[in-house]
């Protein structure tokens, strides 16, 4: 319904923007802006889904876009923001193994490497593989690897969670590019939410506090406690 070249340009713009957000996640020190970057990344994915749904006329992709917006742009960032407030950490200053600059260099190398590698893999079946699948695979896998970079090069637990979420976005991006995979992705998002909740509770409140404080915090979130009166 729209101009093909316009859609193509839009898709490319989104891909590049996603990669930029990923690079941002690697280097930003302020936690709130990290969170916002993640929100932006998720939003971009939702946009991608919308674009594809219009191109292909697939309603499922639209659903995915809505689900992504609800979960990844609204709920999860809100939840993490709440936790951030409570543990009152604002900044993530230290880096493991890689400094921001070098990690961005590494990620560029990664993108090129993945591009070449996947190009090689797909070349034999190139005629049948849709170009969008190839690009999606490259960007998706690169995004996953960059998410891993975030996980191991940032020290604060919250940042690690964001890294993981960013990896997840990579898979989502890859999934969106393969147009017929909707059902699974939907469920996957639900599971990821569960994992995420578990992760963040254990992570953020558990790791830097004593057991008593931890129990206290768990009770505060009333996550695991069923009935208080059972306690001895």
């Amino acid at each position: 319904m729209t101009d093909v070249s316009f859609v193509d340009g839009l898709v490319r713009f989104i891909f590049v923007a996603v990669l930029i957000t990923a690079a941002f996640l690697l280097s930003t020190r302020s936690l709130p802006s990290l969170l916002r970057t993640y929100q932006l990344q998720s939003l971009l994915l939702a946009m991608l889904a919308v674009v594809f749904s219009f191109v292909e006329g697939s309603a499922v992709l639209l659903w995915i876009a809505i689900l992504t917006v609800v979960s990844k742009v609204l709920v999860i960032p809100y939840f993490i923001g709440e936790i951030q407030e409570r543990i009152s950490i604002r900044r993530d200053l230290e880096f493991h193994y890689l400094a921001p600059a070098s990690s961005i260099l590494v990620s560029i190398a990664l993108i090129i490497g993945v591009y070449l590698s996947l190009g090689n893999i797909l070349s034999s079946a190139y005629a049948k593989v849709e170009p969008i699948f190839f690009i999606g695979a490259v960007i998706g896998i690169s995004l996953m690897l960059m998410g891993m970079l975030v996980i191991f090069s940032r020290t604060k637990a919250i940042t690690k969670v964001l890294g993981f979420l960013s990896m997840e976005n990579g898979v989502l991006l890859f999934g969106i590019c393969v147009t017929e995979l909707p059902f699974i992705i939907e469920v996957m998002i639900m599971i990821d939410l569960i994992i995420l909740i578990l992760l963040t509770t254990i992570l953020t409140v558990g790791i830097d506090s004593t057991i008593e404080a931890y129990n206290e915090k768990v009770r505060q979130y009333s996550l695991w406690t069923v009935r208080e009166e059972d306690a001895p």
Partner: protein, 649 residues
Amino acid sequence: MIGVILYLLFAGLFALLLGTVLPLLIRREDKPVRTVSLIATALGSAFLAVAALPVLFSATTVSATLWHLLPGIDFTVVLDRLSSLFLLILGVVGLADAIYSFGYVEHGGHPMRRNLLVSLMNLFLLSMGMVVLAGNMVQFLVFWEMMAVSSLFLVLYDFESEGIGRAGLFYAVMTQLSTVFLFIGFILLYGETGTFALVPASPLASPGALAAFLCLFLGFSVKAGVIPFHKWLPYAHPASPSNISALMSGVMLKVAVYGLVRAVLDIFALDFTSGAVILLFGITSAILGIIYAYKETDIKGLLAYSSIENIGIIFSGIGLAVIFSDLGMPELSTLSLLAALFHSFNHALFKSLLFMTAGSVVAATHTRNMEEMGGLVHRMPFTAGLFCTGAIAIAAFPPLNGFVGELMLFESLFFGLQVVDPLTKVLLIFALSLFALTGALAAACFVKAFGITFLAHPRSDRAVHAEEACRSMLIGPAILAFLCIATGIGSFQIFSALGYDLPLPDMLVVGMLIVVTLGAVVLVVRATASRETRVTETWGCGLLSQNGRMEYTGTGYSEPVVTIFSSIYRTEKKIDRTWLDPDRAIVAGTRAGISLIKFFEEYLYLPVARGTLAVSSLVQIFHAGTLDTYILYIFVSIVILVLGVGWFI
């Protein structure tokens, strides 16, 4: 006939199984449980021995399937002439050991643990029997491992005592090493033959067959305690209860020999080089084994090293058999092989005898240190007599069986010297002279073992209060002692009955001559000499009284040999003097010390162990990371995988 043999075999195996299971099921602490189990051991061993005899003499093959395990893999009993010999060894030693154990197991330890000892002893015998009877590799390995496990537990019987844990660990590792080699060997062999049955490997000279043979050889060598894989033996044998030491040394080492002989005879067609390798390993073990035994003061340690020596002799016999058959001298080859086999049998008899009597001594004195014994010949006269018989047999004096085995080996070497090939000749002369040295050192060594342990004054209070062992602990070894004499004297007749015409002196005649002469000498001396005797204190250069501390010690006894072979012992002499004055004229005191470097431990075992531990600690560091590190590992692996896949596709 075959049916009877099979029934006997089944009965024997079943009795041993019963003896294993019974003490485990009946959880009672009293003696009858153990007695019943030991009766099962004795009966089982006796059945097996009786089943083996007709097969040995008639050279038939008896086989049956016991248990259908997997498609194509059965547990079988295959009793041919070779296995019957080893089954006979097992039966005879097992019977004697069971009788010995009636008394022995009641020494020390919690009753439940004694039950376990008896049970595991049965299992040990059972698994060794099944190894010997194995018709395929899988069964061989299954029972080989069961043998290893049960013996490991037996070594660890007294696990709370100091040093036992170390011995057990050493044994566990070395026995696993043996299994590793056997696994590789058998699996490679399987690759060659395509079947799990023990059939000749074809093609014979392929590298696969050669590798398989080498691995099997190493595996059996480790288990047999051939130098340089011997180190577990002097740890494990002293650590285990003496009835078990007797079995380990008497039977288990022979099972390894059985494996090697089976491989040499039935599976591989070996050439001169392999024979020379076996021979060299054998000689090295023989000479170094006895040299190390010589300096031991732990009586069971001495016996353990002596086992290494004897295994060396057996291996040399096998090696010679291979060499001679490659050189086209079938008679000499047979002679050497028979020497090895006969010596296996003999060694089983007298080494078990020695371990049992040594065990009685240890049980009576509560020490294994010979320097704390002495004078036991008065307190334990029968034990002393039995030990002395064993010592004469192992020192290879006619007309006992030990001599005949060594004589056969010497003869094959003597005759072998006729060959022209200079390399072979050098090898044979080398072997011959080292055997001579070994034999003579063995004699000297057992003078020490018997003399220091049993003769003269008691060297400590422990020896003063020793008491004669109970009846069963005398009857068991006595059976073996009798057999040592009988097989020695009857050796010529035995070989004739087996169908071998060997150039051996008729020991029956020699024995009779000795008896007649002895009788004549006694008569003549009685008739002519004065019969007056007087008992008085030993002359001590005017000392008022002499006690155990003034006697010649075991260490002192071995000193000349230790000095002569100091380069082998790697002795380190260290003399520290202190002076009273600054000019160093007046000596205030001197300390002299001789220490023996444990060569193999220092230069072979410990470096390997340290190396492994170093790698292990590296791996440990690998696991001591935080989450970040772990994710980094994964990141790197994934990147390698993703890029690698693209690259190599």
